[in-house]
């Protein structure tokens, strides 16, 4: 049964692109096997931010720990899927389409948006912030808005005279609006152009209405989440937000790179929820943070390579914070592929959890089956 809120439930997805190293995010800092296998790339016990007697946060996840300590973070340990594909592209496609065994062009959030807005009436039902619409949000005929710069979103923005801009936009509309049936690429461009025209008209009010005392850190993920907050607080009917933070494919650069990524992420997520709280707009928002795979258990002497099981986070005021599922065993005989963390919960079960318990939708048609769910939401 769906969790009830006074307002429509809103779902924010943050994709950590590149394969985040879960073992150095939520660290089994009292397990000797962690230090045995991470001879080079370990976080010393004294630097870990403990969350209990066995697990702790990476030292740069302090602002995230604050949210956890407030009971707003559900840690989904061991998320993944059977026979993990270690390719970034294929791995992300699998997460985006819920089809590990075949290649699909339909995204699970594309299906979700279609369920939430069957007539496609509001092109802002689903919004991606960033560059490159994720396959998760794609489905033919389902309008989705993708914004790389909210303050500059809208075509012909360089034409300052309003009457001339209106004239140019009308001609643009005529050029893009009458071409359906001229081939898949031109059709796709036509739909995209029209979605921009429609979406820009509605979304332009968001920056105008927004005021906040929260100062986001100057980082790409901070900017993206601020844009999410600006649109959400403008109450434009958006139900699905998507954004991503890149750079997690660290390999040999993990030691110098991962702390900066976590610093930006933790601060941005903390700022985002502080901003929503200030706007009294946090009781109907949850966030899923995921990555396409975890890294291998043992480091390679300078970094970590692509692995299988990892971790995800559900964050928000309606979330019943704590640890969910089982942290993958570090015992060698339980390693996946002889090298990786074995997943202990299928990612489609977490999608199903969000779909059924948060958005109130039937999960099976969207996630292509029935998978074990968790119960991460507060009961009213």
């Amino acid at each position: 049964m769906a969790t009830t809120t006074k307002k429509d439930p809103v779902f924010v997805v943050v994709q950590l692109s590149g394969g985040n190293d879960f073992m150095n995010t939520v660290i089994p800092y009292t397990n000797p096997l962690y230090y045995d296998n991470r001879t080079f790339l370990n976080i010393p016990e004294e630097d870990v931010l403990p969350l209990d007697s066995t697990l702790g946060w990476h030292p740069e996840m302090g602002p995230f720990k604050e949210l956890y300590d407030r009971g707003m973070v559900a840690i989904v340990q061991g998320i993944g899927y059977p026979d993990s594909n270690r390719s970034h592209f294929r791995g992300m496609d699998i997460w985006h389409t819920c089809t590990p065994d075949e290649v699909s062009t339909v995204g699970w959030l594309g299906n979700t948006i279609e369920q939430l807005d069957p007539t496609g009436e509001n092109p802002l039902t689903g919004i991606n912030f960033g560059v490159g619409l994720p396959k998760a949000m794609t489905k033919a005929g389902v309008p989705v808005t993708s914004v790389s710069n909210l303050d500059n979103y809208g075509l012909m923005s360089g034409i300052t005279a309003e009457d001339q801009k209106d004239e140019a936009l009308q001609i643009f509309k005529n050029m893009y609006g009458q071409a359906v049936g001229t081939g898949p690429v031109m059709d796709y461009l036509s739909r995209t152009g029209n979605d921009v025209l429609t979406g820009a008209d509605i979304i332009k009010v968001a920056p105008e209405r927004y005021e906040s005392t929260v100062e986001y850190a100057d980082s790409p993920i901070g900017k993206s989440l601020r844009d999410v907050a600006r649109v959400h607080s403008a109450d434009l009917g958006t139900r699905i937000f998507y954004t991503q933070q890149g750079g997690y494919d660290t390999h040999a650069n993990q030691l110098p790179t991962q702390p900066g990524l976590f610093k930006d992420l933790a601060r941005a997520v903390n700022d985002f929820f502080a901003d929503l709280e200030e706007h009294d707009a946090d009781d109907n928002v949850i966030m899923l943070i995921f990555s396409e795979f975890g890294r291998r258990i043992a480091d390679n002497g300078s970094g970590t390579d692509h692995g299988s099981g990892g971790g995800a986070f559900l964050v928000g005021k309606p979330v019943d914070g704590g640890l969910y599922c089982e942290y993958p065993s570090l015992e060698r005989d339980r390693w996946a592929k002889g090298e990786d963390l074995e997943h202990t919960i299928d990612y489609r079960g977490i999608y199903g959890t969000v779909l059924e318990q948060w958005l109130g939708l039937e999960a099976a048609p969207i996630v292509q089956g029935t998978f074990e769910q968790i119960n991460p939401f507060k009961t009213n």
């Binding site: 592209f89 050029m175 031109m186």
Partner: protein, 123 residues
């Protein structure tokens, strides 16, 4: 426009497929291209202007600008939309400095419309 040189999102590079363009990148691409023709005093635009000769008939404006920008071939619908603008501005006199100054913005606008077309963006 989202693809920083030598900095793909992962070691596998850039994803193929329709991800090369979406609402956000189309917006960025169109605005970038349009903004390149916002200033009619640039040497590049003056060169385009000089190539158009002393007179441009309204009927010829679309075709000659498409040639100068590409050449680009456009579909009937796109051509009709561009022609509606050409009809609105009428014949253009470019025979004197004063006439060129007066009509440069109209030529620039036609080129801005051309670079915003699907055909130019996909070319």
């Amino acid at each position: 426009m989202g693809q920083a040189l030598m900095n793909p999102p992962t070691v596998e590079g850039w994803h193929t497929g329709s991800e090369w363009i979406d609402g956000g990148t189309l917006n960025e691409r169109v605005n970038f291209a349009v903004n390149q023709f916002d200033d009619v005093s640039t040497p590049g635009f003056k060169d385009i202007l000089s190539r158009l000769g002393d007179q441009v008939k309204s009927d010829d404006l679309v075709g000659r600008c498409l040639d100068l920008i590409g050449p680009i071939e456009v579909g009937n619908e796109t051509h009709a939309a561009l022609s509606s603008y050409a009809d609105a501005v009428g014949d253009l006199d470019l025979s004197t400095d004063q006439a060129r100054t007066e009509n440069a913005v109209k030529i620039a606008r036609m080129i801005q419309l051309i670079v915003s077309t699907r055909e130019y963006q996909f070319a």
